[in-house]
């Protein structure tokens, strides 16, 4: 292993809609960490997470994720990360189970993986047969988290994972993220639930106006 650094950003600028949403971010994340990104709205947390997933071009600076240089090989990163964005990425007209089976087929997960993930997020049974359009916001979030779990990524990127979940759901989520870390994954997440997030994270980073500092 040449480096245990999973994410390594140096003076990274990311332009979104002609605006430097990230304006010179320098930070790194080691393997096995659970890193919290905190900061006010519009600070660039979402942009950072999407860039780590290889979805946004790097305008300036050097960015390295899981050994891939993002400015030259953005696509290679995508097969190794799992991203839960603001949106859930679910199909409204399909049931919870159909959504889960669709994503699990794409990433090569088994039916057993799906069942376990659905039990873990509390959406198995009758809820599994319900169309996503008829679910509450919190239930949809659980479904999106379950499809992230079957992904079994090396790097988990979560944008406001706690938002919309009830206490029980948040406990389930925290347990799952710790278990993933223990199995060898790395987690970066953004959250406004500072108390809960701090207890989950092994380290916090402060994101303000497109820059990253230790919190």
């Amino acid at each position: 292993m040449p480096s245990e650094k999973v994410v390594d950003f140096k003076d990274v600028v990311i332009v979104y809609d002609n605006f430097p949403a990230v304006a010179g971010a320098t930070f790194s994340v080691d393997k096995g960490e659970i890193v919290l990104l905190q900061g006010p709205n519009g600070a660039g947390k979402t942009t950072l997470l999407r860039a780590c997933a290889g979805l946004l071009p790097i305008a300036r600076g050097t960015a390295n994720v899981l050994g891939c240089d993002l400015s030259t090989n953005r696509v290679a990163v995508r097969s190794r990360v799992g991203l839960l964005g603001h949106a859930n990425g679910l199909f409204q007209d399909l049931t919870v189970l159909e959504n889960m089976l669709f994503w699990s087929r794409l990433v090569g997960a088994t039916r057993q993986d799906v069942d376990q993930a659905m039990i873990a997020m509390g959406i198995s049974g009758r809820l599994g047969e319900t169309q996503v359009a008829k679910l509450s916001a919190g239930q949809r979030r659980r479904c999106a988290l379950a499809s992230l779990i079957v992904r079994r990524a090396q790097l988990w990127l979560l944008d406001e994972p706690h938002a919309g979940l009830d206490t029980q759901g948040r406990d389930e989520l925290d347990r799952t993220l710790r278990a993933a870390r223990d199995s060898g994954a790395t987690v970066i997440f953004a959250s406004h639930e500072i108390e809960r997030a701090r207890s989950l994270a092994t380290r916090s980073l402060m994101v303000t106006t497109g820059m990253v500092k230790p919190a």
Binding site: S79, R80, V107, G108, D113, Q116, A117, A120, I149, R152, A153, Q154, T176, A179, A180, S183, G184, A185
Partner: protein, 155 residues
């Protein structure tokens, strides 16, 4: 619950040239289909000798007939213009309602639109089909004998 990261997924190396070769073969096939099998359907006109013979030139339909206006056949009256179209040894009488105007004259190629009635093409539109020859309009040539001029213009 198993949360161990999956081993890296490596996309298999694809042969980059195969699709391009297949694509060009398909393209060649396209050219052959278009030029060999579809020409009669896309052709703009039928030649005089093909009327009623070639598919797509059926005498029942409205036709576009190409030929040369025979020298000495042009007869203009008040409302009609009559002339003979010749091509490849066959000829066809054309009655055009009106005066074609423009550069219409004897000895040039035209496309006449119309229907066949008793072996006569009743036309209501005439387009001059210009050949791909361009020559200077000079006095010498205009004074040449008519037949020589006509053979010069025929494409």
């Amino acid at each position: 619950m198993d949360l161990t990261p999956r081993p890296e997924t490596i996309s298999p190396k694809r042969r980059r040239w195969m699709p391009i070769i297949v694509l060009s073969l398909v393209g060649i096939g396209g050219v052959i289909v278009v030029t060999q099998f579809l020409s009669s359907a896309i052709d703009y006109y039928c030649n005089v000798d093909e009327v009623g013979v070639r598919s797509g030139c059926d005498t029942a339909n409205r036709l576009r007939v190409q030929g040369t206006v025979e020298q000495g056949s042009l007869a203009k009256s008040d409302n009609t213009t009559e002339f003979k179209l010749v091509f490849n040894g066959k000829s066809l009488d054309v009655v055009y309602s009106g005066d074609p105007g423009g550069v219409f004259q004897e000895c040039i190629s035209v496309v006449a639109h119309g229907r066949l009635v008793n072996g006569v093409l009743e036309s209501n539109r005439i387009e001059v089909k210009h050949s791909n020859e361009y020559e200077a309009k000079n006095k010498d040539r205009l004074e040449n004998s008519g037949s020589a001029a006509c053979s010069q213009v025929q494409g």
